[in-house]
């Protein structure tokens, strides 16, 4: 697999349910970031977790990072129809700049 691979590729849930998306990567990282993209629109930064952190919260978002397994998960609690979007993880390549390697993304559909 390539750096920053998310699964599942697509996820369909009902409003109020939780959505969990996973990301795996291959090389060492400085940090891992999650982004959201509405169809045909720009990338919106959601949360950044550093390599020495294991868990981070922001509102309804919870991100975990397991550097030993080179994996991360994004949990969206109490999902809303407005959460419908594609979600990408991106790893900082550790080059000294915030150059990001993106995964293919998870397309989340939240039905009312």
């Amino acid at each position: 697999s390539q750096q920053g691979e998310e699964d599942p590729q697509a996820l369909s849930i009902q409003e109020g349910e939780n959505a969990t998306m996973n990301c795996s990567y291959k090389t060492s990282i400085n940090n891992l970031q999650w982004y959201r993209q509405n169809s045909g629109r720009g990338l919106v930064h959601l949360i950044l977790i550093r390599s020495n952190e294991r868990e981070k919260h922001s509102g309804r978002l919870r991100v975990t990072l397991d550097t030993s397994k080179k994996s991360s998960s994004l949990l969206i609690t109490a999902s809303r129809a407005a959460d419908t979007a594609s979600y990408f993880c991106a790893t900082d390549r550790g080059t000294g700049y915030s150059t990001l390697t993106f995964g293919k993304g998870t397309m989340l559909l939240v039905s009312p």
Partner: protein, 112 residues
């Protein structure tokens, strides 16, 4: 809230023509980036720019591409002789340092 702005939102050009995509990064950011996303594919890094020079570039960023910061606010991507396969959404991003990246809404480039 400060944001990265890109113009135009959509550009249609003939194959072989030169195009310039424009970006205004967030004013106190020091690092600037271009990424592209071919329809249905992952976001790919093109180039990073710091202290008025290219700091890193990908294999995609060949001699057809160039970047410039012509003044204190704009950051441009030039494609000298466009090919059909250059059709993609191009995103500009900026960061203060090795931190979260803020992306613009993108320019959709269509080469015909």
């Amino acid at each position: 809230e400060p944001e990265v702005t890109q113009t135009p939102s959509h550009q249609v050009t003939q194959m072989g023509q030169e195009v310039i995509l424009r970006c205004v990064p967030i004013s106190n950011h020091l690092y600037f980036y271009w990424y592209r996303q071919i329809l249905g594919q992952k976001v790919e890094f093109l180039v990073s720019f710091y202290n008025n020079e290219i700091s890193e570039k990908s294999e995609i960023f060949d001699d057809q591409f160039s970047v410039e910061r012509p003044d204190g606010s704009n950051f441009t991507l030039k494609i000298r002789s466009t090919k059909l396969e250059d059709s993609a959404m191009y995103f500009c991003a900026s960061t203060r340092g090795i931190t979260e990246a803020f992306f613009g809404q993108g320019t959709r480039l269509t080469v015909v």
